[in-house]
Symmetry: C3
């Protein structure tokens, strides 16, 4: 029996296949319930702290929407400027404070390892909504949910991961999830932004089939799913290198129609120019549905760690 | 039968007389219900996205209060800095994202036409809370509601519009509403800030009686209602011109008592110095009641576009 | 019979002993109720305006948590930048606006006297969450609640107040509360940051026993409770003076164990370096429990001023 009560959600590596499947099925169930009515009363009176030390529209509003759809309330902040960090408070002290208020904590912080640090002192379960270039496990789970939902299954799928695979926390968390499934990964990145060696080593250990290339078109010819990512300006210390690399890979409608018309197209968003807007109206452009799936998956995680499913 | 379900509220021009009257009557009904209890359970579980790309205390909190008084919840942001706009995301992508979360979207954005652009891609109804120097239809409706509420009727009223009529979106949206009523408009503005010619042309087409002047005192002598507006610093590219014009018109208590003691005094707020504070205690100083009316009118609009009235 | 309905909570001096004891007992009652369920439906549909013109994690989230735990809703802002203050609006106009929306107002503002100014124009009760270097009465009450809760009683206790006693609004509000109890105060501060003479005069008037010293260790030897405060950088006009004074008093675990092992250790937080982190794991380190007590005390105050207890 899967039981996530009291657990922190810190990285993709923490999950067993059973826990992932369980989360997918809870998310599915919430999705069905929300078709009947706007919200569920499961977490009435509960409070989620939404602590975003770094700007985010998508992830923050997704967590907060999930909490409201479960009948709960939210307190929090959307940037570090309006917090006591400006007065010199440490992350640990901030978390210990908020831990006195909330039943569950969702957080994003620019530092790798910050969510783990928070979880070590908080009694409330901590959900990592992104720790710098580290992990982003709720994104990885919603990505998996999207693949299942769009294609009916994950096993047997060839997934093309493209963009900044060095700094992209969504793909780092993602491969930790995909490794449980019988799928193949094709990694497309410029030389400077390749997937880190330690993650590749883990994939080898798990017997996950993967290949690396710099050629997006060749990868698409073999792929079922494209997971495109943004070259993240905020991860570069050298602006010139960002300028050199930002246009490396751009998916156009013409490419999809010519190479792989049935390609499921995903993106964690925001996009800058990696997918041209003429792709948006393709029925297999899944990235905005993917955003919506985030609410169901986060509902599943919040309710699970609070022991309500 | 008036039915606003699924409609966007984008500008003053979109409304028929019947729709306006309907909205006024729904607002009135909510006002009465709120006298009995603090909130109504009509929108329990529903979520409004409150997207303020530009700072606003009044309009944002008014929309959010309206949603809470209807039993609903709110997610959103109060400035563009804490959004993905900073990462290069387009307005359209942000809206498509939020559209996955919310049942209704209230927004303010510095660009003219932004609300319309948002409405074109959102499934959820969009309520324009101000698009730069463009429109501000919910303000126009609450202004009308205030005139009705303060004077008992709109037909037959002479309304003096004073201040920055060139950039003032509240007066632009307002004249589109007033044109449905048998009222007379007197427009008082410095030469550089006169009402745009295209709006005057529309008024002529609709047979609305109006006159233009630079003399506030002469206008007050003939007016029933003064709608004073702020010279908006943020609409000027030349700070020197703002400095020259900002003190053009200032209403004092002495002027009201001498010229038109029964004048209904309105202002969309914030004010800087256009109405001296000794006016505040006059019983016909309606501007803070006007703020309160905003909640009832926005409740009416939110509930209407969600098909709940 | 104590009745706080409609009252503003502006400073520590306003309270009678009966009102303080009543608030403590209501807070205690809410604490017990929250052990059974996450929230109480007492303020369903009510709205609190949370107006933080100055950054604050702790106090803002504490007020908002309190409101949610009572079943109510919150509108507001967490910094002055996203308000109409930037457009030149006065505090009084902002408050009169918000007064149209909310049933109760919690606010923090950098100016001494701002909460009083707000209360003078608002129909809704105003709760002062800190007015510059002025007062912070809800903090003072939660501090008292913590002493009672940690030690069982306040009478007979020797309380050491340490740090910036000149600018520290929590200690200013605190002494106004402690004066009702038969406790002794020992004030430890560098010469430049001593408790203001007018407050000392009041203590003498009330017959409160106190002494002043610059020697923390000597004070601890006689104390039951240490109330440590931060040297507040934001209150200094001269950065050099801040640098000179900031390390004046630092409590270490070694000091506690050597001088007064049963010392109850409190701090309004955030701390910078005044209490070393090795103190945190002592069972009598009460500062994070103190944060939690803030929610119960603020629940008591909000419910009381709204006439719901």
């Amino acid at each position: 029996m899967v039981n996530l009560e009291g657990k922190d959600i810190l990285d993709g590596a923490q999950f067993s296949r059973e826990e992932i499947d369980f989360t997918m099925s809870v998310a599915d169930d919430f999705r069905k319930q929300l078709k009947e009515r706007p919200a569920i009363d499961l977490l009435k009176g509960n409070i989620m702290a939404s602590l975003f030390f770094e700007p985010s529209t998508r992830t923050r509003l997704s967590f907060e929407t999930a909490m409201h759809r479960l009948g709960g309330n939210v307190v929090g902040f959307s940037s570090a400027e309006s917090t006591s960090t400006a007065k010199g408070e440490t992350l640990v002290d901030t978390i210990r404070t908020v831990d006195q208020y909330a039943d569950v904590i969702a957080m994003r912080h620019p530092q790798i390892g910050s969510a783990k640090e928070a979880a070590a002192v908080a009694k409330a379960p901590v959900l990592n909504g992104g720790d710098g270039a580290g992990q982003h496990p709720t994104q990885a789970l919603l990505d998996l949910y999207t693949i299942k939902s769009e294609r009916g299954h994950v096993d047997g799928t060839t997934i093309v991961l493209c963009g900044d695979l060095k700094n992209g926390r969504t793909v780092h968390a993602g491969v930790e999830i995909y490794k449980h499934y019988n799928c193949k990964l094709i990694m497309v990145a410029p030389e400077q932004l390749k997937m880190p060696a330690d993650i590749l080593a883990k994939l080898r250990d798990h017997g996950v089939a993967f290949e690396e290339t710099t050629d997006l078109e060749a990868a698409l010819a073999k792929g079922d799913v494209l997971y495109m990512t943004r070259i993240q300006k905020e991860r570069f210390t050298d602006p010139a290198e960002y300028e050199r690399l930002k246009g490396s890979y751009i998916l156009t409608r013409e490419m999809v129609e010519r190479i792989q018309p049935k390609l499921t197209i995903m993106h964690p968003l925001p996009r800058v120019n990696e997918i041209t807007t003429d792709v948006d109206s393709l029925t297999n452009a899944a990235y905005f549905r993917q955003v919506g799936n985030g609410v169901f998956v986060r509902m599943a995680l919040i309710a699970s760690v609070l022991g309500k499913v």
